[in-house]
Symmetry: C2
Subunit: 377 residues, 2 copies
């Protein structure tokens, strides 16, 4: 492990697998456990980068698939990488692009992970082979080839602090033999990604992606294989099952097989009900577009539950959405004004709601870290 990336464990709870730590990156520290906001197109929706930095959002997640298509990795590379392109000072993580290729092909991400919708690849994936995956751009239909090596190259051009190898996302409804074949291919792809990455680490950390669906044995096999390779951390991907309970059972089986001296990341989970439970299972970071998407739909998080800001009860509510919240939005504007902005479809409503929800998540993980340190979790 080089100096540019280091996981510093600080405290391990004796009551659960919950732990507090610090990830040191070239763009600063990520306190763990922590929520990772999603900025798919090199932008958190409705916020600019300076505002995100001011919020102390320590890590954001950008999607390589989208950035390959718009603006194209060459544009970002030409600008000096994602940090410089979007003027972000703090850490960034990118994914491989594979998740979007497969999830768009299967229908929506949510449909696939929850085993609803189509079970087969639609025509956006043109060819899936040992080499990689050939797919159609969602923008103009042009064919694009994503291989383990090309994904790493793209992520080298984007220059995030943490990058992720290409994996295959098998459908939830898959027999064991097909799932095993997919797992083995994902492992071969991850090894190729690692080899490519080690040619030029470029001060980036590469996390493996542990697969195996909801099969405890496969998850163990995946962890055992990947943890023997010099990855810098371990992301948990693939299908987590249909329910939160299934996911937690999977984590109960998997987490003891991950090394305590390396950071881990749970891909795509960040709903309010799950956070404390995944943290108890030892998750260090987790990303989700849920808080920002909720914000744009007028769903504001508070200590007293989630408020639908367009409800009539907020029409004359001159208090802040959450009177105890210290965010920019609650400091400056009433629930009545936010209600009006949403009713009038004013863009500033989306911005103010997004600031509030991100602030809420940042406070939530702060509190969870304190709870762990105080031996309460």
């Amino acid at each position: 492990m080089k100096n540019f990336f280091k996981f510093e464990p600080i405290y391990q709870s004796t009551k659960s697998r919950a732990r507090v730590g610090r990830i040191h990156t070239p763009h600063g520290i990520i306190d763990t456990p922590n929520f990772v906001a999603v900025g798919t197109n090199a932008a958190i929706k409705a916020l600019d980068s300076v505002v995100i930095d001011q919020l102390e959002q320590q890590l954001i997640f950008c999607n390589t698939y989208h950035l390959i298509i718009q603006p194209g990795v060459d544009v970002v590379k030409n600008a000096g990488g994602l940090h410089s392109f979007m003027n972000r000072q703090k850490p960034i993580i990118t994914d491989s692009g594979g998740f979007q290729v497969f999830s768009l092909a299967y229908g929506s991400v949510h449909d696939e992970l929850k085993s609803r919708g189509t079970k087969k690849l639609n025509n956006t994936v043109l060819k899936l082979s040992e080499e990689g995956v050939l797919f159609r751009s969602y923008k103009d239909g042009s064919p694009l080839l994503l291989t383990p090596e090309s994904s790493i190259e793209a992520q080298k051009a984007l220059g995030a602090d943490i990058i992720i190898p290409l994996d295959e996302l098998p459908p939830y409804h898959t027999d064991k033999i097909t799932l095993k074949k997919s797992l083995d291919r994902t492992h071969r792809w991850e090894k190729r990604s690692l080899d490519k990455h080690l040619e030029n680490r470029q001060n980036q950390a590469l996390y493996a992606v542990v697969h195996g669906g909801v099969d405890p044995e496969f998850r163990k096999q995946s962890a055992d294989y990947l943890t023997q390779l010099p990855f810098d951390g371990f992301a948990i991907g693939g299908s987590f099952g249909k329910t939160c309970k299934e996911m937690l059972t999977m984590l109960d089986h998997l987490m003891p097989h991950l090394p305590p001296d390396k950071p881990n990341h749970l891909l795509g989970i960040g709903d309010l009900n799950s956070i404390e439970e995944i943290v108890k299972r030892g998750i260090d970071t987790f990303d989700s577009s849920y808080p920002t998407r909720c914000a744009r739909h007028g769903l504001l998080f508070t200590q007293a539950g989630t408020h639908k800001i367009t409800q009539g009860k907020h029409k004359n509510n001159l208090n802040a959405v959450d009177p105890e919240c210290h965010c920019y939005t609650c400091k400056h504007y009433s629930a009545a004004y936010l209600h009006h902005l949403f009713k009038a479809h004013e863009l500033s409503g989306y911005t103010l709601a997004t600031i509030h929800n991100l602030h809420f998540l940042i406070q939530l993980v702060n509190k969870l870290r304190n709870k762990i340190l105080n031996g309460e979790l």
Copy 2:
């Protein structure tokens, strides 16, 4: 004239009617000549009030018609008025609501003022009488009555620093007899508005609206009648003709009939080509949604002309949109990043472009004031 509102002439050009002054209001000073940004729904589109205050946007224009319908004047009154509702510290001006009632009835505002589109009232105006105008809400179709008195009452509830009496907007294609009838009714409505206003000034200034279309004699009659009444200032409304030239000719005739010791306002004009010309004719303030609307369409104003940010030439442009601009947007982001935000339909692009265009306008009027003071206009 009471203390709460005062026009302070500072310098009268000897080369033109251009002049520099200061309007003192309960919420601070408006340096004139000045551009007034439009925040129809108690919000400048894509910006929140704190940002607008930081931009030093000295006066914003809110539309009573929209606010009557959403959130309703009672909600704003309950919040302590517009300033408190939207958390704005600087001056606000509201209109009577009449302009929107008539212009929506005639088709688009632009169509009507440029004499395109329908020439007759459509069915959104249910009844036009001496009492006032009965119209249908654009939101739910419910009938609403706007009278000179009810408009003043609504604007008392909204509590802007400057308010405007109800007027009738006659179509451009109108014979002289009909135009004269409309003018006379507008004058009666304005007198009723003034009487209502004087019952309780409530620290608000009431500007008259000078009408008469493009008829020099009618404009003079309107000015002569209205300037004999104790209005605090004079707005110029009605049809300005089909072209910028027609408008300037109208101003050439009209402006000598307005009193030099009171401020004036040109309603709905703020395109870049017109600004210097209207300022030369002695206009103190003028409002337009043009700069903010342009911003949301990716049209960014610079010293070197207007840039369409989505054009391919900006794809790799690592400079600011205007390298000499000191706005928040140009200080933090490249043209390439803005290009990408617009291409990816990211909301933050609209915010950053709006900040830039408003900053440009604020700088433009600053420069015009200096030019006048330096005897160059």
